[in-house]
Symmetry: C2
Subunit: 227 residues, 2 copies
DNA sequence: GCCTATTTTATTGTTGACAATCCTCTAGTT
DNA sequence: AACTAGAGGATTGTCAACAATAAAATAGGC
């Protein structure tokens, strides 16, 4: 998932965008946290101009919320918002999967299977961290998005939704028990793509995602009962 | 489709965003046109700072493309990009329609039918301009998006996709002959929603949109043959 | 005459200062 | 004690000048 070094970006504003995105995804900047322009600018060693442009960009991809004259905050992902996200994700990845089945070349499909094998190894090797497993999951979905050959779709998923999903990874890290069935579903999806069955591929992907949300949602409810 | 006056926005940057968006949608700023910061700033009577922030925002919602040190241009919607858009739209409005069937209240459904009646009157009154018919079409789709009760979905559709769709309206204005069947499809969709049949509503909406793209696509091919 | 190198010009990127707005903390009143 | 009013401070919004980069134009060599 090609993320080039921070200082390869051409402008300070773009670099600040990347650093902020990274900081938000890793949780270094916490959800709901106030983003003071002066603080961030001095911390990054730039002036407020480029930093403000970066914030405007992050606002566009829904990572921060801005209120005029009151400043920007890291977006706060409550259960309702996560539910909305998963609905949108279901729709977008569903169609991406259908298109991938139509457009992926044989090399890409082979790579897809390799990803699955690697993921299985990681699960079997019990010392693997949760983090890595989650990244394998992202790799699979990202690879399918690329296979759709639809740049708008790729942008929406990779540059917006996946960032948001990564943000709430820590909440859903207790989903370890579901990695096995998830992998099985991934295999079915890959099979449908290999058979060039777009309709089935879409159906399976949508089921996979809505199922994941159902599990996460239930888990969140349980935790709410006993805090 | 509540678009409040331009000067109600709190900051110059936000106002510039709206003016630029409007200018791009109406075609006052043409596709592919270079957007010179100095020119626009003086034309709008503001300095370059807020204008740059506005451009960054428009970049986020895909209305302009920016190349570092080379400036911003209005996005150019070729046939391929339009095809991508319609795929994304099919997915998003499909799920929006399903959710609308689940979540709309009776008042909203009644309003949906009123929109359809108004649209039919406009079609029958032959002196109505193409423009108005197209806006009626947008109203219908926008209303359904609102009914989904999914803010992220509403944002994606109303603040990103619909802008882009309006941009290529002039290309597709010769689709007049298709307004009748389109209205018929709208009625079927409204019926499915009224019956709370989310699955059917989604299916019909997707068929409606992919059908529209097929017609537009063919029309564009024909025009390409004989320029 | 055409291609390349260099200077010029225009445009973008960045900065620090200034103005406007909002939030907070204090003081006073009921 | 609680609520309102106002002063103070902090933060955001705006601007105009400066620096860096890219595009255009000119001059020189082949």
């Amino acid at each position: 998932m090609s993320t080039k070094p921070l200082d390869e970006e051409r402008t300070l504003s773009d670099r600040a965008s990347l650093r902020l995105t990274q900081a938000i995804i890793t949780g270094e900047l916490r959800q709901g946290q106030k983003l003071c322009e002066t603080d961030l600018a001095t911390r990054y060693g730039i002036s407020r101009g480029p930093l403000r442009e970066a914030l405007r960009h992050l606002e566009g991809i829904r990572l921060v919320q801005r209120i005029p004259h009151a400043g920007a905050r890291v977006v706060k992902l409550d259960k309702a918002k996560m539910g909305e996200m998963y609905r949108v994700r279901e729709a977008l990845e569903g169609i991406a999967c259908r298109l991938a089945a139509e457009n992926m070349n044989d090399g890409e499909i082979r790579l897809l299977y390799e990803l699955l094998d690697r993921h299985e190894q990681q699960i079997t090797a019990s010392d693997s961290t949760q983090y890595i497993q989650n990244e394998s999951d992202f790799d699979f979905h990202y690879h399918i998005a690329l296979g759709s050959r639809n740049q708008m779709l790729i942008d929406l998923l990779a540059h917006e939704l996946y960032h948001l999903l990564r943000m709430c990874r820590y909440r859903t890290s207790r989903m370890a028990q579901r990695t096995r069935p998830a992998l099985q579903q991934h295999r079915q999806i890959a099979e449908a793509i290999a058979n060039r069955d777009g309709e089935l591929a879409e159906l399976l992907m949508r089921r996979h995602i809505s199922g994941a949300w159902k599990s996460i949602s239930e888990l969140m409810d349980e935790e709410e009962q006993k805090p």
